[in-house]
């Protein structure tokens, strides 16, 4: 039996949402930055340890300044959100508390991963204490460029989605 789960990538422009999706789905990385317009949807079917098949449908949304401004139809029927920020640009996590609060209030049942990308350029140790002070529980740090942490992120998501 195949189960279908919708995963939405959220975050500001240029934080690397598309790069994360491409690294996970195609194992590629492109240095050229092409902003995503609207939504790009990709699918990955994986076999779970239980033998069941999981169809992960990844919605890669265009960047936003605040998650509250994202069209609610895009978020309809989501099973997981991956909120991405860029560890090299404080601007991309400036409003993170408000965004997280909005997500948790409006979508309390949806799994949430908070991910810092581009750790190939900035040590996560410089960012992590700042966010901890602000009570933001970052669930992982990744680099779409090197691939570090990407597989772990989706393995973790898969496990959460299966239960």
């Amino acid at each position: 039996m195949e189960i279908t789960k919708k995963i939405v990538l959220l975050g500001q422009f240029g934080v690397g949402k598309t790069s994360i999706a491409r690294r996970y789905l195609l194992d590629v990385f492109d240095n050229d930055y092409v902003p995503t317009l609207g939504v790009q949807i990709r699918k990955q079917v994986i076999e779970l340890p239980s033998g069941r098949k999981l169809s992960m449908i990844i919605w890669d949304l265009e960047g936003f300044s605040s998650v509250s401004r994202t069209r609610s139809s895009y978020l309809l029927g989501s099973h997981a959100f991956v909120y991405v920020f860029d560890v090299t640009r404080p601007y991309t996590y400036q409003n993170i508390e408000n965004d997280i609060k909005f997500i948790k209030t409006k979508y309390p049942k949806v799994i949430l991963e908070i991910i810092g990308n581009k750790i190939d350029m900035e040590d996560e140790k410089t960012v992590a204490p700042l966010l901890k002070e602000r009570n933001v529980s970052v669930t992982g740090y990744v680099s779409a460029k090197s691939g570090k942490g990407i597989q772990d992120l989706f393995t973790r998501l898969t496990q959460k989605l299966e239960t």
Binding site: T4, G14, I41, S73
Partner: protein, 200 residues
């Protein structure tokens, strides 16, 4: 007038499907679909909404999904999608805005590129000003902690030279004077070296 030949009629496709996904009507203007084909197999966009549409709830308002990048039967189009759940079927409207969005895409990329250049410029300015402030700090430290202190030592040596000293003491004093003189010169050279632009 033949509706088939109008410009916009070729840009809008209407699809009707049963809640289970079976397509029973399609105007085929953007994507050619076969009768009986399953809506949820066309593209992951529809598949990810299957659960919502199968719930059987009638939607009071239609759902709008702007700017969705679709690829169906190897044909790509960027569409605005409107979906309405009726009692027994789903009514889907696709608006092909590929040209419009592709132009927007270029515009967005140009805007983003300009923003990144602006940011690069700001960072360069910040870097230059911070570098200058740091170099000023180092220069000031060299002046006060090294050059000034060494000049004090030189003054003391001069005082000692004017006192009555044994020849052996005078030789040692000369050695000290030479060593201090050499350090003083090096400190000045280092200080002047900081005025050199290491970035170019």
């Amino acid at each position: 007038m033949n509706r088939e030949n109008t410009f916009f009629s070729k840009k809008i496709q209407e699809i009707h499907a049963k809640p289970g996904g079976e397509i029973f009507l399609s105007s085929d203007t953007i994507f050619k679909l076969k009768e009986g084909e399953n809506l949820y197999s066309l593209h992951p966009f529809f598949e990810s909404l299957k659960h919502e549409f199968e719930k059987g709830r009638i939607m009071e308002n239609s759902l709008a999904f702007p700017c969705v990048q679709l690829e169906i039967h190897k044909k790509e189009a960027i569409c605005d999608i409107t979906i309405k759940r009726e009692r027994d079927f789903l009514a889907i409207l696709l608006f092909d805005y590929s040209q419009h969005y592709e132009h927007l895409h270029e515009a967005a990329q140009e805007k983003k590129s300009a923003m990144l250049q602006e940011r690069e410029h700001q960072l360069k300015l910040k870097y230059t000003s911070e570098k200058e402030a740091y170099l000023d700090f180092i220069r000031e430290r060299i002046d006060t902690k090294l050059i000034f202190e060494m000049e004090q030592v030189v003054r003391k040596v001069e005082q000692l030279k004017r006192s009555s000293l044994e020849p052996e003491q005078r030789e040692i004093l000369q050695d000290i004077e030479e060593i201090i003189g050499s350090f003083h010169l090096r400190a000045i050279q280092i200080r002047e070296g900081l005025d050199f632009d290491f970035d170019n």
